[in-house]
Symmetry: C2
DNA sequence: ACCTGAACACCGTTCAAGT
DNA sequence: ACCTGAACACCGTTCAAGT
């Protein structure tokens, strides 16, 4: 919690991701931003990858916290909780595109135990939201882990296509929210049309 | 069609993507692979990005060709055609992960008109497969462009999570094929359960 | 413990020539 | 037209010291 050099470096790396994307996060720029020599970061992290892994870990913990808050918040309406959590994830992706991709797509990120743990914990919190939603809506046909995977994959795919500039109205990808809406329409049709 | 230096450079870049991913595709390595000086590529392309854009354009044309062949092949069974095309896309992604990401996810790719055109043409061929499927299965509730977008987003999301090492059995993401299967189960439930 | 400064091997890209 | 070779400004990373 104190402003140790290590914490400053992590924050500087996250800020540079927001400002200029992956390519802007050079060890030298991070060091510069913290007023230390270009090589001081190596006293705190094994290298660039480990620094980015810590950034990712911190963000995964934030996401898990949001998902858990969504679970507690409106306990009476699981559908609203789930859609609210998805909206929050989408908002995070648009506000911090390079960080979103670091967490959910980046190839170069070599995951250590702490990162994998944080990522899985955030997924588990998401999975809980899906399970409650499924119980509320009552879809007996689908395994709830598979349903969580489907929603997760669709949401990620829509976000990634938008962030990469591959989404277009003519491709049926007006917005991430709309694709999510279409998915839920399909999921809930049997219940709505008995 | 002749083995011009330009064509050799494009092929070398594609091969390096397959062999070592994005980071392996340096202008110098591409030039080396073609037996020319490190700076000869600049006589054929404005820079690294333009070279990669041409690789992407070539692959988009290949994808479009596959989708169109799938349309013609089994004209009597639109569902089989669509699922076959998706399988081919998934196979391409697994065989050429770095090239798949170049086409569908890469941020650094600055798209010129030729690339955008090739990308859109391949989507249109995919969209046709979806439209025929929808007509065959008879889902009146969904706009067909939106349905194409949903399938596209889900498939891309599942592929991207797998390529990035983010997919796990515990996350309901056993395989891309399985996520696609779950999606189609959800889409077709009303028809199967009247 | 924490940091600095020089150095190395790489990059993309540019420039001035060469045939 | 097509190519080469030197050069520049950048990287990540390593090493030998400094306090």
């Amino acid at each position: 919690m104190a402003d140790t050099t290590r914490d400053l470096l992590v924050t500087a790396a996250a800020d540079l991701l927001d400002l200029g994307g992956q390519t802007a996060v050079t060890i030298r720029a991070v060091a510069d931003r913290c007023g230390v020599s270009h090589n001081a970061p190596y006293k705190h992290f094994a290298g660039r990858q480990e620094l980015l892994a810590v950034v990712a870990q911190r963000d995964f913990e934030q996401l898990r916290s949001w998902f858990e808050t969504a679970s507690l918040g409106s306990a009476g309406d699981a559908r609203t909780s789930l859609l609210g959590a998805l909206d929050q994830l989408i908002e995070y992706a648009h506000a911090h595109p390079a960080r979103y991709r670091l967490l959910f797509s980046d190839q170069s990120l070599t995951p250590d135990d702490a990162l994998v743990g944080a990522a899985f914990a955030s997924f588990q919190a998401f999975r809980l939201l899906v399970s409650r939603y499924q119980r509320e809506v009552g879809q007996a046909g689908l395994d709830d882990t598979e349903l969580a995977g489907l929603i997760y994959a669709t949401c990620h795919g829509a976000i990634d296509l938008h962030l990469g500039g591959r989404a277009a109205d003519a491709k049926g990808l007006v917005s991430v929210e709309n694709t999510i809406r279409v998915l839920f329409e399909a999921l809930e049709r049997p219940a709505q049309n008995p």
